[in-house]
């Protein structure tokens, strides 16, 4: 018992304190550099928009936040589908991490958008197809995160959560096409070539790159934490079974 427990503890202790690989630091540096470049470009080089004025600069962070959210939710859905087909711990950890960081990005998109809307539309919120569907999508993944954080570590919880994430993929598609299908009032600027000034385009794509890089760093950190947490839980359970640990651990 002693040997097994120590081996596992050492092995898992190593998981908890593992050094970050060079790829992580590269992503971290890229995220920091791209964020600074985005701020500089958005505020000093991109011109003030003629109709909306300075509030339009929210766009350089609101839309990249929404794009990062959609990418993370799509990844979570794909990984969850793969988990349902073939359960593997790494897939589960990746799904949990992408869902949680995706919710954070969704929070950015859903809070900065209304601030822009207050100036552009005259009110914070409108029950417009894209906005409503984005809110529903964010709630779906909030439910996923809550289920994973408070629903225990058993296989059934993992599979139910994975099913929920897979169900989110059509919702992501609907968010993308909502403005066209239901003629919403949400602006369609990026894909219809509405960014006329080259500096506006550069600021926008720098914003997208910086949000994606930030998301990569956060997902890596969250996966690292998740693997340590799962390892500690498994070890604690084993020690409890052998009466080496009290049940209220």
């Amino acid at each position: 018992m002693k040997t097994i427990a120590f081996t596992k503890l050492n092995e898992k202790g190593t998981v908890a304190t593992r050094q970050r690989p060079p790829a992580y630091w590269a992503a971290f540096g890229a995220a920091a550099l791209l964020s600074l470049l985005t701020l500089g470009w958005a505020f000093f080089l991109a011109p003030v928009e003629a109709t909306m004025g300075i509030v339009q600069k929210i766009f350089y962070f609101h839309v990249p936040g929404a794009i990062a959210m959609q990418l993370l939710f799509v990844l979570c859905g794909i990984v969850s589908f793969m988990y349902l087909l073939r359960p593997r711990a790494v897939l589960d950890r990746l799904a949990v991490s992408t869902a949680e960081v995706g919710v954070l990005m969704g929070f950015f998109a859903l809070t900065t958008g209304p601030l822009w809307a207050r100036k552009a539309w005259g009110h914070f919120w409108e029950w417009e197809p894209r906005l409503t569907l984005t809110l529903v999508l964010a709630f779906m993944f909030v439910a996923y995160t809550a289920l994973r954080n408070f629903g225990g570590n058993d296989e059934l919880t993992k599979r139910i959560a994975a099913g929920l994430a897979v169900a989110g993929i059509p919702a992501i598609y609907l968010v993308r096409v909502a403005v066209t299908w239901w003629r919403g009032t949400h602006p369609r600027v990026v894909w219809s070539g509405g960014l006329t000034d080259p500096n506006m385009r550069i600021a926008f794509w720098l914003g997208v790159a910086s949000f994606v890089a930030i998301a990569v760093v956060l997902v890596w950190e969250r996966m690292h934490l998740e693997s340590a947490r799962v390892a500690v839980d498994e070890l604690a359970l084993e020690l409890m079974e052998r009466d080496l640990l009290e049940d209220d651990f």
Binding site: L9, G13, G53, I54, K57, H62, F108, T111, L239
Partner: protein
């Protein structure tokens, strides 16, 4: 015929000279007008440059000694969204730092659990050694 021609020539020469003199006078008049215009333009340029230089000197002198409120009323509409923009950026930065803080807190919790497990195993080892 020759004389006649010479006479004609003489008469014509005299007319030609008169014509040339008249043309010269015309040229001189237009030259004078151009010169006057140039003088006026030069004077205006000198005056403008002097005024601009004087204004710059005044501005430079004023910058060091007093502050005046800028008139932004023309840009009022463009700048009215500043509170919303600042609010949006504050949400993003504070949200990011709050998430990082929560992750750090959770990592600390996992580390403390790991320390507890180490203690439990160490206590078990101690007890086993005591039994043997």
């Amino acid at each position: 015929m020759v004389y006649l021609h010479e006479a004609d020539h003489h008469e014509n020469g005299s007319a030609h000279a008169k014509c040339m003199a008249s043309r010269d006078r015309g040229h001189q008049t237009s030259l004078r007008t151009i010169m006057r215009l140039l003088a006026v333009v030069s004077f205006a340029l000198v005056l403008c440059t002097a005024t601009a230089a004087s204004a710059q000197e005044d501005e430079a002198a004023r910058v060091g000694t007093e502050f005046q409120a800028a008139d932004l009323s023309k840009h009022k509409e463009e700048l009215s969204g500043i509170p919303f923009m600042v609010g949006a950026y504050m949400i993003i930065w504070s949200g990011l730092f709050a998430y990082l803080y929560s992750m750090q807190k959770r990592t600390r919790h996992v580390s403390s659990q790991l320390a507890e497990l180490k203690d439990a195993i160490a206590a078990h080892d101690e007890a086993q050694r005591g039994d043997s």
